[in-house]
Symmetry: C2
Subunit: 394 residues, 2 copies
């Protein structure tokens, strides 16, 4: 056998989603790409802010020596400083470059953190519905995911997290604004989670880290503020990227940041720098790192995503779909009208609509719509959503 | 304890090298950066060919939609086709995009391949002296390195490899031109290695893959040709990057390519695409992928590195150092005049010369010089090399 059994098993388990994508490709080939309503992938459809290309061209036009050379595995000092300054302003805490490591996207950051932290068999608390890659990432570090459900409307259920803590719990992973639900955890629940972990440390003498995956932090609507994990919890680590807010997902540029007073800070950061190296990332891409000092705080026009959310949310609720109104990110996570979400996704495909079954996020009975798509695509898809809904309404 | 015991152990084992670097930094702070002869890192000092920046600026000036978006985890079709066409010309075999996966450097490629192939506990044959990261990469995949010595002048010792094969051997990893020795394995020995693996497959009914790490393939001297592993072995996989030949190491852009007739080809490539994703690389950086079709076959001026090699090799042999003349890459790997290479590296530091002890490459009694440095630095360092040598000559 050529490949490892575990990889074969993983691929098989994920094969139903791959099959959906393949069927989507067949639909596109058959009906024309422009006639298929593709809401399957969270691939931002907005261009980066103009400053991004302007600045990149400037850097390339006046190249410094070793423009694309290796730097410290943690990244350029200037870039880390710019990120630290931005974080200081955002969180009302004083960050320095020391607490920031540049990474190949949030995925690279999360893998570096988990590899640094987890002993084989230790547990990572993951909240359902979850971004499916989390399960692979914790396995990469030989850890074990412990899936805990969220509360009503996908809210943070701190009691459920408390009940799931064991002597083998190494960290709690949250993702807010959330993929796939669009939920933003409110300040009260984030504070309660921080209090829980602080109390655990006092009572058990052991640190459980809070890891927050925040690539959608700047993509929020209706003037919502995403509460600061750093304000709420001393043992917190943020992993994020510029993939969504600057529309650079293919460039693999992100970072991890730790609380300035996180326990065992130096050792933890040295370990994350080291794992960033030995996992084969080596460093975050150089040119994108050089861009970042000039674009801290910039984002694509979030209002455009908000409009898409509004059109879609209104359209689907009018049809009769049950769904929680997303507060951020660019996903809707409606209930499937029938318990079998895979069957419903197939019914949507008959309407040339592509979405992802909730099963892929540990939440059967739901489905995910990624609405980073043209307004017209969203609007024109609604009759198909209605026909699919009515098929099962009788 | 904050971090995983294994990571702590790894960091401790590597700490003598880190200590060297720290001492180097202290020297630079004390004596001025320009007065320290830093040959410690393989960080190319030549600028990329002009076409690289020209083309990048052009891409950014006329941005296509979703210029930086996610693409297939294997990379852009156009990029993979350009690489396949280049490989077809290089190896006299017909490659298509199907056999090419774009990766975050050769390190990303090697990690994706090993994760796809290796069952826990399976063995990877690694030749000493070796690039130290190999040991981490095989551990990432829960494999076990089996270190096999090279022959006279660091040549390929196919007999030693044959003796090291076990029922648990999954692959043989070679690196030619070699880091740290500069050795290029000759065609005869590469053919013998291919024959060995073909014979093993016939006799034992089991495929052992040949993985060749080739980032220095285009950096060779004296009209030497690097023999094609694809010509020699049907079960071969090449991993490489544009880090050295285009001076883009910080950009993390490379690829893996498999023999067009490799056994279980489809499953193997699907698995490598999948591991590229789940390891957190997701895809090779988008902008650099878009650059590649225009710069296939381009390199920095290799003659410049050859001149550096000549100056350094001549200088060191005249002093009395024993060393094999490198045929490629940009490293020299002389014998230390005393068995304790770490002690000798410290003696070099007293001369403000930074190099890496052979111990870090599984080859105690040697040391590595990275000569991607200005000619003047090389020339001015020679008296220091002489004084350090003579200190132990009596």
């Amino acid at each position: 056998m050529a490949i490892a059994q575990k990889i074969r098993d993983f691929m098989e388990k994920g094969s139903f989603i791959r099959k959906m994508f393949e069927e989507g490709d067949i639909l596109k080939a058959k009906h024309g790409k422009e006639n298929v309503f593709d809401f399957s992938l969270g691939n931002p459809n907005l261009d980066p802010p103009e400053e991004v290309h302007r600045r990149l061209i400037q850097i390339l036009s006046e190249p410094v020596p070793a423009l694309h050379g290796y730097m410290s595995n943690a990244g350029y000092l200037e870039t880390r400083r710019a990120v630290a300054d931005f974080l200081s302003g955002e969180h009302g805490l004083s960050f320095t470059e020391q607490e920031v490591i540049m990474t190949c996207g949030a995925a690279g950051a999360l893998n570096a953190v988990l590899k640094a932290l987890m002993e084989p068999g230790e547990e990572l608390i993951v909240l359902a519905p979850y971004f499916v890659e989390y399960l692979f990432y914790v396995d990469n570090a030989q850890g074990v995911p412990r899936v805990v459900p969220t509360g009503p409307n996908f809210s943070l259920d701190v009691k459920a997290i408390e009940q799931a803590l064991t002597p083998r719990t190494k960290a709690v992973l949250i993702n807010s604004p959330n993929n796939p639900t669009g939920k933003v955890y409110d300040e009260t629940s984030i504070r309660q989670l921080g209090d829980l972990l602080h109390r655990y440390e006092r009572e058990q003498g052991r640190v459980i880290y809070l890891i927050s995956d925040e690539p959608y932090r700047k993509i929020v609507y209706d003037q919502i503020q995403v509460p600061s994990i750093f304000q709420a919890c001393r043992q917190s680590i943020s992993v994020t990227s510029y993939s969504k807010d600057l529309s650079l997902p293919g460039e693999r540029i992100g970072y991890l940041a730790v609380h300035p007073q996180i326990p065992d800070k130096e050792e933890l950061l040295a370990a994350c720098t080291f794992t960033n190296r030995i996992l084969g990332f080596v460093n975050a891409p150089a040119l994108m790192q050089r861009l970042l000092p000039a674009v801290q705080g910039l984002t694509v026009d979030i209002g455009i995503y908000q409009r898409k959310r509004d059109i879609f949310y209104k359209g689907l609720t009018q049809i009769g779909y049950q769904l929680t109104k997303p507060e951020g990110a660019f996903y809707l996570f409606p209930q499937s009208p029938i318990p079998d979400d895979v069957a419903f996704i197939q019914a949507l495909q008959e309407e040339l609509i592509l979405a992802v079954p909730g099963m892929g996020f540990g939440a059967p009975g739901y489905f995910r719509i990624a609405y980073c798509a043209p307004d017209a695509t969203i609007e024109k898809s609604l009759p198909g959503f209605e026909r699919a809904f009515k098929k099962f309404a009788n």
